[in-house]
Assembly symmetry: C2
């Protein structure tokens, strides 16, 4: 596998565009389009929230019908959630407006929205936005980046990742973009992600792979435990490389690796760009009796407000980590637990067999002040492990969310 | 039932005291004692955290043995959690030091600790603290209040409540104190609470009642979703009123009412004194198909960081409330939901049948700026309801927890 630059336009045959449609924001792009002339099979996972946004219902329906698609249209500013029948009509309007521009059926256009819940979209900016998008379509890396920028809300940086591999001398590429900063929590993050690939793969096989990969990447990050109404992860495969990906082959394993890499990179970029956050927290639970249990434990730590605030203050308050493990809802022996802090290539054992080691507070603070810090929880009870990612909880998180709508 | 002033010394035969033992804090009381000469049956509920503090193990053991007790000794500053065998030894030392002073067995002394996790207690301050406590014991309201003050950590006010009722012309009193401000979350809050009563009640009957009441009071509050290692709720009944409380009698119902009142008041005082918080949030879920479901939904709203920050900013961001209901983990029809804001005797319908009503933002902000605000979620699907309490998430929460240990 080779790590590539770029995002949704990295794979052959995919074009992208952004537009300033003025849906809610002014003076910045707020609509994005990902397009493939060659129809693509697609797979997706969506929010588990009971309150689902109109575009989520739409995409789920197209997925059930196993439609091939030509495009994904995304808007930022208005989430089109809690908007009732009118919201569903406007979502259809958005798909239709793009379909007309690209000469396709509305059922060949996936949709995604992010922004304020409850507010209605309006037809006019969507129609003129669709026209602008069509005009701006390009297969360049820049066009992919512009699309990634257009879907940002409280994100501070745009997020892209890509990877490729060779199969019989032919390059297959996987590239994606995502947005997500607040309302980020497992199953799924408040995130929109579109990944494209020129692999030739069956829709059902792709769906199986996507469901598997999402549970180790996007579902392992948390900014604030709030699962949104709009979470959407779409993977489009247009087959333009001509490389057939079938289960049990080396190409399949390479494809899985590339897709997992892109998903995990995008997920980590979201956790590291959590609203108001200053650093990335990685929690590894190792030597656990089951992988499921390791996931539950690691996520309990990344989602604790008390761990997150202590992390912000670079305070080695290991007691809060033990506490968060303890209320995760699974059983373990606290007096077996070792806890190690790791950052910048150095490591420090904080807790041995459930009791403090007498470590240097100064050293701990030095490690905790770095941009990426790992907590390794050794359960000493089995052979399974899992990793979750999160961030610190800061004044700025409160500021950003105390006046988001105003 | 009559609402009374006072706390743990309100009921006949109970004395209390505080002492400056200098366990960790200097210049403020950090040990408290509640004492009854007449041995008391007791009931209790404890943290569900796997990592349990030494005093929790001790009290649970005494409860299983159905011991009658003479005292509860509490300390603030050091939680005696994640302290291994040495911690259990020091907890026993604390019970023993008090037992010696009051002329009882260590097994007749309950213990409770709150403060930093991981740090070890020391013998000396505990021994001299026990002597100071013995000396200061008094049955006055002031002594009760001093005990309530001595168990505070990041609390900004001490918390007491009491109530009484008449049975055949004799007054029966229930009075309690608690502390809790951070690490507050259902099952149970990071809280210590001791309630005393002069009712004459069987220990098993009392335990049943306490378990029932705690699920509607202490378990319905949340400050930050962190369930602590030390949560302890103890109720001591010494029978000094001479009034026998038996199931199926009017006195039993009156006793239940008084105990429920004291528990709920103490719980609300904790939610309203959440770390850094500026106002109390009450979430009522009404017309729900089951009480259990109503509890889950109401707690999902009080625990959402995004709801809590919007509440801090007095922003009527109802979308975040719908979102938090949606990811609670139970099913409902979002397009049936009505959401009403209530404060200071006024109410405002924000959402009708799942869609915004076009309410006045100005009015909403005015209501949200008050000290106590209720959100009423009408599910329109049944006849059950539940209420949860929480608070806003503020800069000060981050400040308090970003440098708690330093």
């Amino acid at each position: 596998m080779k790590i590539e630059k770029g995002g949704v336009t990295a794979a052959k045959g995919f074009l992208a565009a952004s537009a300033e449609a003025q849906i809610k924001y002014k003076g910045r792009p707020d609509m994005a389009l990902v397009y493939t002339g060659r129809p693509a099979v697609f797979a997706g996972t969506f929010t588990t929230n009971v309150v689902k946004a109109a575009p989520v219902w739409w995409d789920k329906e197209l997925l059930e019908k196993k439609k091939k698609v030509h495009a994904v249209v995304l808007n930022s500013g208005i989430a089109n959630a809690a908007t009732g029948k009118e919201g569903r009509k406007l979502n259809y309007f958005m798909a239709q407006a793009v379909a007309e521009q690209i000469g396709a059926e509305p059922e060949e256009v996936l949709t995604a929205s992010t922004g304020v819940i409850g507010m209605q979209l309006k037809e006019e900016p969507l129609a003129s936005g669709a026209a602008l998008l069509k005009e701006a379509l390009a297969d360049t890396a820049e066009a992919g980046t512009r699309a990634a920028e257009a879907i940002m809300t409280t994100d501070t940086v745009s997020k892209e990742a890509a990877a490729s591999f060779e199969a019989d001398g032919v390059t297959v590429t996987v590239g994606g973009m995502c947005k997500g900063s607040g309302m980020i929590h497992p199953n799924m993050a408040t995130m929109l992600s579109v990944t494209t690939t020129d692999a030739d793969i069956d829709g059902d096989v792709l769906q199986e792979l996507v469901s598997e990969i999402v549970s180790d990447s996007f579902n392992m990050i948390s900014v604030d435990r709030d699962t949104s109404t709009n979470d959407t992860y779409l993977v489009l495969a247009n087959g333009a490389s001509g490389v057939k990906i079938e289960k049990g082959t080396e190409a399949y394993e390479n494809f899985r690796e590339a897709l997992a890499y892109v998903s995990t990179e995008l997920a980590k970029k979201m956790a590291g760009d959590g609203e108001g956050c200053t650093k990335l927290m990685e929690v590894q639970v190792i030597n656990c009796e089951s992988r499921e249990k390791a996931k539950i434990l690691s996520r309990s730590v990344t989602t604790s407000n008390l761990v997150k605030t202590a992390f912000y203050g670079s305070d080695a308050n290991y007691g809060r980590i033990l506490c968060a493990l303890g209320y995760a809802g699974v059983d373990f022996d606290p007096e077996k637990l070792d806890l190690t802090l790791e950052a910048g290539g150095e490591s420090l054992l904080l807790v041995k067999d459930g009791v403090e080691t007498g470590y240097s507070e100064e050293k701990a603070t030095e490690l905790l002040s770095q941009e990426k810090v790992a907590f390794i929880c050794d359960m000493k009870e089995g052979e399974c492990s899992a990793t979750a990612w999160g961030c610190d909880l800061t004044y700025d998180y409160v500021k950003i969310n105390g006046d988001y709508r105003s």
